[in-house]
Amino acid sequence: RCSTKLESMGFRVGQGLIERFTKDTARFKDELDIMKFICKDFWTTVFKKQIDNLRTNHQGIYVLQDNKFRLLTQMSAGKQYLEHAPKYLAFTCGLIRGGLSNLGIKSIVTAEVSSMPACKL
């Protein structure tokens, strides 16, 4: 399925990107530190903005919310394209999963779009 291919492409790119990023930086303190890095520096490099909201249950689940996800902003905000939105998110899920993987974190990343152009990962 195309989403799987896109996700694996994103995974490879995410791994490569993180390598470039963390060549010279200090080790991260903990998992939350890593997630904040993803929300701030990583997201800014890729999407030119930060994640708008990060929530966690402190038990390994994190929700990243982007209210104006750049890959969705060019599409009409109504319901029309909602069913196609996941394809545009697949690559990004892979990107995050790849980045985390090279930082030593195994993860599963899924995305949800309930109203364009906002999304939650």
Binding site: M9, V13, L17, K36, T44
Partner: protein, 180 residues
């Protein structure tokens, strides 16, 4: 919890690296999907074409260039404005044909191929073929039928990358070209 008070990480990563990595992942995936280089080259050209027919609108809106009066002007706009805007490089224009309908773009460095090496079993792959499709598609939307191809490629050991562009004819009808 807010995101204030995070320590700043200086970002060593440029946006161009994301672009290069993504393009590389795309070509790699296409090589897996298609069995031979020729098919990958065709796909890249087709994808480039589909991008080009839309990119031209973005280009015209952002650059504010008017209509080109001849192919020389077109060449200048492509090299000095378009390439600069989208790829951050300015190729030089050389090798004009006597009739003024063909020229070469010489790229000393090609951002698409940073960190890329072609493996031996893909010697006929035209890695950056997407660019040819983009140029072809974009120019078609401004009524020019052109032929675009790589004649030299640093990935294949040449000292520069050279793209040859040939004007074929003006497209007279106003029907927008469909997607391939």
């Amino acid at each position: 919890r807010g995101l204030r008070g995070l320590k700043e990480f200086p970002s060593p990563v440029q946006n161009s690296e994301l672009f290069t990595l993504t393009y590389g992942a795309l070509v790699t995936q296409l090589c897996k999907d298609y069995e031979n280089d020729e098919d990958v080259n065709k796909q890249l050209d087709k994808m480039g074409y589909n991008i080009g027919v839309r990119l031209i609108e973005d280009f015209l809106a952002r650059s504010n260039v008017g209509r080109c009066h001849d192919f020389r002007e077109t060449a200048d706009v492509i090299a000095k404005i378009a390439f600069k805007m989208y790829l951050g490089i300015t190729p030089s224009i050389t090798n004009w044909s006597p009739g003024g309908d063909e020229f070469s773009l010489i790229l000393e460095n090609n951002p698409l191929v940073d960190f890329v090496e072609l493996p031996d079993n893909h010697s006929t792959l035209i890695y950056s073929n997407l660019l040819c499709g983009v140029l072809r598609g974009a120019l078609e939307m401004v009524q020019m039928a052109v032929d675009v191809k790589f004649v030299q490629d640093t990935l294949k050991g040449d000292s520069v990358t050279e793209i040859r562009m040939k004007f074929i004819r003006r497209i007279e009808d106003n029907l927008p070209a469909g997607e391939e």
